[in-house]
């Protein structure tokens, strides 16, 4: 199970949210493929040295978000049906959080909505230059 997750327990971000974010990111990047099995709750807790109930909570939320499914006695898997949809949803979640944080910061230092829009579209142009 090539799941590479790293969490920073010393951060102020709840650990279960870090696990959720990283699993979604791994799905979005294709590191975790549809149908692929996730480590058991106990295994991931031991791998990361974090509380098992914290891992279980992250898995429950990932299941509710439709990213993974859990088969009783068999473990948790990345959802297979509609995997493109799952991937896209996961990618959107990760990107939305990043953009949210950037806009919040820009607003907090006094930029107006139009300034931020100009910056955002310049950034999009820069990163998607080759596609144009």
């Amino acid at each position: 199970m090539p799941v590479v997750l790293t969490v920073d327990p010393r951060s102020g971000v709840p650990i279960y949210l870090q696990v959720i974010e990283q699993v979604k990111r791994s799905v979005a990047l294709g590191v975790l493929a549809a149908g692929e099995q996730l480590p058991t709750v106990k295994q991931l807790a031991l791998d990361l040295t974090i509380n098992p109930n914290t891992v279980a909570k992250a898995y429950r939320e990932l299941e509710r978000d439709g990213v993974i499914e859990t088969a009783a006695g068999r473990g948790s898997f990345v959802r297979g049906n509609g995997s493109i949809e799952t991937t896209k949803t996961a990618a959107t979640d990760v990107a939305r959080d990043a953009i949210d944080a950037a806009v919040r910061e820009a607003k907090s230092i006094g930029l107006l909505a139009d300034d931020i829009r100009t910056l955002a579209s310049a950034a999009i142009d820069r990163w998607f230059r080759e596609d144009a």
């Binding site: 327990p9 102020g12 971000v13 709840p14 031991l46 974090i50 509380n51 914290t54 919040r104 907090s108």
Partner: protein, 301 residues
Amino acid sequence: MSTISIKNLRKTYGPYVAVDDLTFEIPDACVFGLLGPNGAGKTTTFKCMLGLARATSGSVLYDGAPLVPETLERIAYVPERSVLYEWMTVGEHIEMQRRAYRKFSVARARELLAQFGIDLRKKARALSKGMRTATMVALAIARESDILILDEPTSGLDPINQRHVLNLIINESARGATVIFSSHQIGQVERAAERIAVIDRGRLALEGNVDDLKADRKIVEGILPSETFALNGLAGDPHILRLDRNGRIVRAVTSSDAGEVLAKFEALGASGLRIVDLNLEDIFLYAVSPADATADVVEGH
């Protein structure tokens, strides 16, 4: 099931109040971290839980029932100070535990001690402080008990063995045991514990789920238009635990809904607003340091 309820626990030694009206619950199969400055009452709390000290008032209930000898058989305890017999070898301690406890697993004890690199032929007096701690932790875990009470189970250990003890705690929890442990190293509690209680001068300063505390407790920071700007309406805000201002900078520690507090700051005309995450150490320090008088800071200078 091993739910532990501590209700209005009070323990005095003469005029000294070690534990004062402590109430919290440790859910079944939970890893529960007990934090507090030196002398806060952590060890006294453990002793009252184990019947080693008689509570002055209040109670400790295991699944709703007071402590009885049968309960003690289900609890393994690692005290902060070594209780190993100095003249006995580690192997002899294993034998003694085997005779004392029905469920004690000699194989598990040997396995755990080998993981710590402890020679069974060594006498306890030849072990370093850390290795004594590791030996006691190994002997406690080999009892395969329902409840583990560990007072500073990583003290004196190097970082590798500290991590190993944390993983043993996690493993015990994963098999369904209830674990309560204290540590001065907040980073360890942050990793392994699902819930914490902070005790300060014998009293409960804070209790809750670690991730929930991190989600709720934030610093909302903003810059006010002037140093004399009044912060009307913030003094009684139920989401604000404490409010500090330093010149034009104002900081609120929230107990929940940081977003709402941020919106209030914005409505008051503050700029440069941001929400800062707090880790468990910050949350701990805010819990044990006396809050500044909120009323003084809100009205401006």
